[in-house]
Every structure is written in C-alpha cells, then in structure tokens.
Subunit: 100 residues, 2 copies
C-alpha cells in the first residue's frame, strides 16, 4: 500500500529507465509523508515538512510556496491529493527551470 505500483509489479529495478525511477522517487516521497488520516492525502503540515526536508533547494525558487501551503486550509485536517502535490512540485520545477 502506498508505494508506486510499477515498483511492486516488476521483478528488477533494471526494467525501469532512469526517468521512471526518478518519477517513482517523487511518487514514493508523497506516500512517505502522507501518514496522518488517509494515506492517500497529505495535510498542509505534512506538505510543509516534506518541502523543508526534501526540497530545500527547489523551494528557494518559489517565493510563494509557503503562502500557497497556508492557503490549502486547516494545517492538520485539509487533504491534499497526489495531483495537487504533483502540480505544486511542477510549479517549483518551472520556477527553477526558468531562472537561468
């Protein structure tokens, strides 16, 4: 439960490409922090912890990330689904990519 299905299905990690393994890391990172309440969602506090611990460099490129997290609702009760988590990381990645 809570792990990428691709990881369970295959016998050997060699079957995944580097890019797929990278995506798997980002997926599993979501589940690692989604511990409170439903395992399929992050609370805003869990997302903040994830950002501080796992995205210290990337989050520097998104000035408003902390504000965005505050807007998500009750820090311990609001539920953030995987698609929203992915979109937030995408925004950070876009910021990182553009500022060159």
């Amino acid at each position: 439960m809570g792990q990428c299905h691709c990881h369970k299905k295959r016998k050997d990690s060699q079957e995944l490409t580097d890019v797929e393994r990278a995506i798997e890391i980002v997926i599993n990172n979501f589940h690692r922090y989604a511990v409170k309440g439903r395992k399929e969602c992050l609370t805003p506090n869990e997302l903040r912890e994830l950002v501080v611990q796992q995205l210290p460099q990337l989050s520097q490129h998104v000035c408003s990330l902390d504000e965005k997290i505050e807007c998500l609702g009750d820090p311990d009760e609001a539920k953030l689904e995987f698609g929203e988590y992915w979109a937030i990381i995408g925004e950070a990645a876009k910021g990182c990519r553009v500022k060159k």
Copy 2:
C-alpha cells in the same frame, strides 16, 4: 541553456536531496527531447519519442496517452510547454499509483 538551473548553480550534487535530484532528472529529460524549434517546448512527435524511449513502463498505465498526444496538434509544429509535459507525466504517475 536548457538545463535545470539548480544544477548549474550548485557546486556539488550532494547539496540536492534524492527527491530534488529525481525532479532534476525529469526536468532535464524535457530539454533533452526539446530539440526542434524552440528549445523550451516539445513537439508532439518529440513527446512521443520521449514516452517510447524513457517511459515504457509508466506509459502502460495510461491507455489514452497516445490519443492525448495526437490531440496536441500538428506532430512537428505544435508546441508543448514544460507545464503541460509535467502534467502529462503526473497523470501517468497517478494512474500508476492508483492501480495497486
């Protein structure tokens, strides 16, 4: 040009976490295939090539990925920005994650 800014700025890859390095791989994969026309965009054909070569396992979880690519417009002329690429991978990752 066309590489993740984080990568250029830091002196040592140890400064990035595993998750950040994973995100960097997904970012750089976009630029690796965005060779025709504007370097900042993928054409539908470039995206198809990327999916076939880099996401063979992940794309199995998204039945309609090929249809989606066809809907993007002229195979060699339409321009797909980074945010759209990120969203398509997120949809595939979501499909992969749910089917467990």
